[in-house]
């Protein structure tokens, strides 16, 4: 479905701070994949995700969607088929707007925004029905501003906003990084439910090895801007932390020594 060919992303090109942030020779995301992306800080995980969403433009190489070259399209264009949940629940939504206004904005993703009222009785009923199963009592707080909600509540709403309209791929960018363990668990269960129900293609960036192993049918590990390990569905079923570290050692000839990656059990 999404094909990346000879991609290079260089930050600060032709400056003293030039940095090769991403280098991918040939990579494909298939329809129905739930791909977890793991790697230490600076490995290129977020850049990889930003490349697919169109937020970051490649310096060389091409991006294809179902065989069509979309290398020159930007994030706004790609939002028609690409939805995203941001890492920070405070900056990933519209804090000064109400819950129902946030949902209304998400409802119009991929369609023309006209002069019809953004909020209608039908839309409010839909938002109510979406929020009720969360059992957070948010369905009765539709007119409250987003900034009044907790991080977990906002992230749950972000997830519902991202998945409210059909899409080809859902990008999850370390979406539980700012949450406590209980809320992380809740958000991940909600994610699994939504992904299974809608049969979504997902790309989830995480720092947590536990999450990377527990979720999805495919795992990739990134290191210094390159994809160094790509574990397919069959191999991933029996994959453990130790096996993953062995794979890293085999590939790189060194120990995986990033504390944040090894210690993160969320």
């Amino acid at each position: 479905m999404i094909q990346l060919n000879n991609i290079e992303v260089i930050f600060g090109k032709n400056t003293a701070n030039e940095n090769l942030a991403l280098k991918i020779r040939d990579f494909q995301i298939n329809s129905g994949d739930f791909l977890t992306v793991i790697g230490s800080n600076g490995a290129g995980k977020s850049t990889f995700l930003n490349l697919i969403s169109g937020r970051v433009r490649q310096n060389s190489g091409d991006v294809y969607l179902n065989g069509k070259n979309i290398s020159k399209t930007n994030e706004t264009d790609r939002s028609d088929w690409c939805a995203r949940v941001f890492q920070d629940p405070l900056t990933g939504t519209y804090g000064q707007l109400t819950i129902e206004e946030n949902f209304a904005l998400a409802m119009d993703r991929g369609s023309r925004r006209n002069i019809f009222p953004a909020l209608s009785r039908e839309r409010r009923a839909k938002f109510h029905d979406l929020l009720a199963p969360l059992e957070m009592n948010l369905e009765h707080r539709l007119k409250e501003r987003m900034e009044l909600l907790s991080g977990g509540q906002r992230q749950a709403i972000s997830l519902l906003m991202a998945t409210i309209k059909p899409m080809k791929i859902l990008l999850l960018d370390e979406m539980t990084a700012a949450l406590d363990p209980a809320m992380t668990n809740f958000i991940m269960k909600l994610t699994s439910k939504i992904v299974e129900t809608n049969k979504l293609t997902v790309l989830m960036v995480t720092h947590s090895m536990e999450q990377a192993l527990a979720y999805g049918n495919r795992l990739i590990m990134m290191h210094k801007g390159e994809i160094i390990i790509d574990v397919g569905p069959e191999e991933k079923k029996g994959l453990t932390k130790d096996r993953l570290m062995d794979l890293f050692k085999q590939t790189r000839g060194q120990q995986l020594d990033q504390d944040n990656l090894l210690l993160s059990n969320q």
Binding site: E75, S79, L97, L105, R109
Partner: protein
């Protein structure tokens, strides 16, 4: 205050209510500190006066003034979004350029509409009312109509996306909202309304002057901040009508300060009073919000 002063304050309050709506759109809704309003207000007046003196219909003159204002807004947006000049500076550049443009349009620094047919003379004749009543009715009718239209616009799907860019521009592309197009639209509509205010002002008071825009932005901001002090809502209609209310309160405050003869103030102290009113309203809003956020522990 005499009845004449009260009616005068209400009338001018509604005219500056239009400026307040313009400032609300740029400063609050799209979060763009646009100073070009100081230039588009006299631009509206200049276009309107020149067209009326050229024998055009006064309503057509208002329409063309609005178009000119929208163009000025689009230029500010171009400087900011395409040329990538700092937003504040983009507005200042347009405002500065408009000073010369306005003199070019009028052919001189000011124009008088004495004895010419305006919307005031038309309304007075058609409804057989005094010019004073006609002026007040026109100011109220145009301001309320524009407030309703802007309220409807902001509550629409497109309007909501405009407010979204002002709230969090970083996340907007992920929802398919282009910041650039919203800045263009927001600034064009904002300056269009500021030019409408200038055109209405010109016809109500019978003149256009190149320096009539000085301090317009402060009046608009004062109205927005005063309105927010009384009506604390981010909802489109409430926010729009709050700033119109703010403009009227502002005009009353100024009238009382100048006419009361308590502090020995004269008309030349207008800008000083304006700044003091804005600062006071700002402090009032700030401290009342802090008070609301404070949790009382027994």
């Amino acid at each position: 205050m005499s009845l004449y002063s009260i009616l005068g304050a209400i009338q001018l309050g509604f005219v500056y209510g239009l400026v307040a709506i313009a400032v609300l759109l740029s400063f609050r809704m799209i979060n763009f500190p646009d100073l070009s309003v100081d230039g588009s207000f006299p631009l509206g007046a200049a276009v309107c006066a020149t067209m009326i003196l050229g024998g055009w219909d006064p309503w057509m003159a208002i329409f063309c003034a609005m178009l000119a204002g929208a163009g000025a807004g689009a230029i500010t947006a171009f400087l900011s979004e395409n040329v990538k000049i700092l937003d504040l500076l983009s507005g200042i550049l347009t405002m500065t350029a408009l000073y010369s443009v306005n003199i070019r349009i009028m052919g001189r620094p000011n124009q008088s509409l004495l004895g010419k047919e305006t919307i005031v003379t038309q309304a007075a004749e058609r409804f057989s009312i005094s010019p004073m009543a006609a002026k007040l009715s026109i100011a109220i009718a145009i301001c309320v109509t524009m407030a309703l239209l802007v309220g409807i616009f902001l509550a629409s799907r497109f309007g909501l996306s405009l407010r979204a860019v002002g709230t969090n521009a970083n996340v907007s592309p992920a929802y398919g909202i282009s910041k650039k197009s919203r800045i263009y639209t927001g600034l064009s509509v904002s300056n269009c309304i500021a030019a409408l205010a200038g055109a209405v002002f010109c016809q109500l008071y019978g003149f256009a002057d190149v320096s009539m825009g000085v301090g317009t932005i402060v009046i608009g901001l004062a109205a927005v901040i005063l309105g927010e002090a009384f009506v604390r809502s981010w909802a489109p209609f409430a926010a729009v009508f709050a700033c119109v209310l703010g403009a009227i309160i502002y005009r009353f405050t100024i009238s009382i300060a100048l006419e009361g003869d308590v502090f020995g103030l004269t008309t030349s102290d207008l800008n000083l009073i304006s700044s003091i009113v804005v600062t006071a309203a700002f402090l009032f809003t700030k401290y009342s919000r802090q008070k609301n956020l404070t949790v009382k522990v027994k």
